[in-house]
């Protein structure tokens, strides 16, 4: 390419150059005078319909007139909504049946993630700093108290919501075929929720958290086989310095290592594990045929017993 250009330059005749330049500039100015207002008018028209712009259509891939097709696409072409089907059974939105506790649990998880990330900006998981950071949050950080309160209460609410969700799923027999496996995923998520809450309890590094975690982890001493005070623990060579409690706390007492471990499990470890199980849980809700009911009642006399 560069070679072509140089040969072109050599072949040009210097005589016509000035004329050609003049004509060209004149043409350019003329085009500005005619095209610019036309383009400006065109631009104004385009801006009146922002949904027709390339930027907009590149983000939203479908039209927005109120047609059944667009309603469906609004859900299906959105990464956050596409876990939903386009259409669902009319009964499935009945709140008295669903209680909405699964969704509320997930929403609380999001609230906790957001408030938790903000809290992390102000918190050092070290014995020297942790308690002062909480005091700092409560008294100096703008809205710090609100932030901490909201994290705390959302966590309690999440435990309640999870338990109510399980209660509803049990009462409606929703764990029955084909949803057995998803019930198991749910039980694991219940345990992870409790663990998330428990690991967060120590983080303010106050008396409440310290003694709650001391009481809680003291039970690990008594783990059969793996704890130094548990049945057959001593026989298997367990001491306070190598048993399962030592592994949990990173030491034989609740101290700096326990605080750090608690922090990492609370902020990174368990949220990642829980997110994976949540993905699985939601995916299986869809794959197992969506929400279980309210279904038509089945009569005892209609059940055909399998032959054995």
């Amino acid at each position: 390419m560069p070679e072509e250009k140089t040969t072109n330059g050599k072949n040009d005749k210097s005589v016509g150059l000035v004329e050609r330049l003049k004509a060209g500039v004149k043409e350019d100015l003329e085009s500005l005078r005619t095209d610019l207002p036309a383009k400006a008018r065109e631009q104004v028209e385009l801006l009146k319909k922002p949904s027709k712009t390339q930027v907009f259509t590149s983000i939203f891939r479908h039209k927005h007139d109120d047609t059944p097709r667009n309603r469906a696409l609004g859900v299906l072409s959105n990464v956050f909504l596409h876990l939903h089907p386009a259409k669902i059974n009319r009964d499935a939105v009945r709140y008295s049946y669903t209680w909405g506790m699964g969704g509320i649990t997930f929403y609380l998880f999001i609230v906790l993630t957001l408030t938790g990330v903000l809290l992390m900006f102000y918190y050092h998981p070290s014995k020297v700093q942790a308690f002062r950071d909480v005091l700092y949050l409560e008294h100096d950080v703008p809205f710090g108290k609100l932030l901490r309160n909201m994290h705390r209460w959302a966590a309690h609410l999440m435990v309640i919501a999870v338990e109510l969700h399980m209660f509803r799923v049990f009462l409606t027999g929703s764990y029955k075929k084909p949803r057995e496996f998803n019930w198991n995923v749910g039980v694991i998520l219940l345990v992870l929720t409790l663990l998330l809450s428990f690991t967060g309890y120590l983080l303010p590094d106050d008396q409440l958290g310290f003694w709650a975690v001391t009481v809680g982890t003291n039970m690990a001493r008594a783990t059969p086989l793996l704890g130094h005070e548990g049945p057959f623990g001593a026989q298997l060579g367990m001491t306070p310095y190598n048993d399962v409690r030592f592994g949990l706390l990173g030491g034989s007492i609740v101290d700096a290592n326990a605080l750090l471990r608690s922090y990492i499990w609370h902020c990174i470890g368990i949220p990642i594990i829980a997110s994976i199980f949540m993905v699985l849980h939601f995916w299986r809700v869809r794959k197992d045929g969506g929400i279980s009911g309210p279904a038509a009642v089945v009569l005892d006399s209609e059940i055909k017993e399998a032959k054995k």
């Binding site: 469906a72 027999g173 409440l208």
Partner: protein, 309 residues
């Protein structure tokens, strides 16, 4: 009646969620019962009328003739979700503005909190510590609760009641779950939160917490009552009692189950049946051990050099 004491316990910030749970649980149990009752009425009617059963809509709140079977998620489901998110946000906002999260003094290993309580959702387990050694209350029982919950779908062979509220079609399953969830789990959280005071002693609501109260309870072990003193004797005796509980209790449950749940009994495989029995009897052992302790001051039933039950 010490109102101040009562108020201190009820208004402790971390206890508020439990107080909030009472009306919530009551409301949702009412909601469930109302729908279960409506469905049970339909079931009873249809069981007695085969012709009607063929054409009946079979729902407590049936579709109107013009209604489509399916609705669009946008907006019909998403607006419910959006509304729920807004309401939860408002509740959280108001709650967070009006009530501060608890913060005690800095952690101090040399100053024991009395009572030192676990977070409220673990208080059921902590309450169990009164009746069982830590390896049972803190490790075995939680594991059994988790595993027990996980096996439910695989041992519940009753095909009825999938996807609708009912009581009459699933009396045994729902009764067992209510017993485990409400009677054991929730009520033990209540005891742990509102009743237990300093030294984990029993203080009735409104009774002043006395940090110097001593209770001279002489707890005995079951083998002592029978005058068994040798280690071998205690071990064998305890194994016999625990084994006897599972054998006799198992026979009683068996006698009940095969009569009142004949169809389920017939459907269940040996593995399913024995798993159900194991978990059910272990669950029943908890209140029995509690009663033994509270009424007869019995500490251990089975004593061995390695563990005590």
């Amino acid at each position: 009646m010490d109102w101040k004491q009562l108020w201190e316990i009820l208004s402790a910030a971390d206890n508020v969620p439990i107080i909030a749970m009472i009306p919530l649980l009551a409301f949702y149990m009412y909601l469930a019962w109302r729908q279960a009752h409506a469905n049970d009425l339909i079931i009873a009617e249809l069981e007695g009328n085969a012709a009607l059963a063929k054409t009946h809509h079979r729902k407590a709140w049936p579709f109107k003739p013009a209604w489509a079977k399916e609705v669009h998620v946008w907006p019909f489901l998403l607006r419910v979700e959006f509304l729920a998110a807004i309401i939860v946000t408002i509740i959280l906002m108001v709650w967070s503005i009006t009530l501060n999260a608890p913060l005690e003094e800095p952690a101090n290993p040399n100053l024991t909190m009395n009572p030192a309580k676990a977070p409220w959702y673990f208080l059921g387990l902590q309450e169990m510590l009164v009746y069982f050694d830590p390896w049972i209350a803190g490790v075995v029982m939680p594991t059994l609760i988790i595993v027990g919950l996980m096996v439910i779908p695989y041992i519940d062979t009753n095909p009825l009641g999938a996807g609708y509220y009912t009581w009459k079609q699933r009396k045994f399953a729902i009764g067992t779950f209510l017993f485990g969830f409400i009677i054991l789990w929730v009520s033990m959280i209540f005891i742990g939160t509102f009743i237990r005071g300093p030294g984990w002693q029993w203080f009735w609501p409104g009774q002043t917490w006395d940090h110097n109260r001593l209770i001279y309870e002489v707890n005995r072990d079951l083998p002592d009552l029978f005058g068994i003193t040798s280690n071998w004797g205690k071990g064998i005796f305890g194994a016999a009692v625990v084994g006897g509980f599972f054998a006799i209790g198992g026979m009683l449950v068996h006698a009940f189950f095969r009569r009142h749940n004949a169809k389920d009994y017939k459907r269940m495989s040996l593995l399913q049946y024995s798993i159900m029995m194991t978990f059910l009897l272990t669950m029943l052992a908890l209140p029995i051990k509690m009663l033994l302790r509270l009424l007869f001051h019995i500490k251990y039933v089975w004593i061995t050099p390695w563990f005590n039950v």
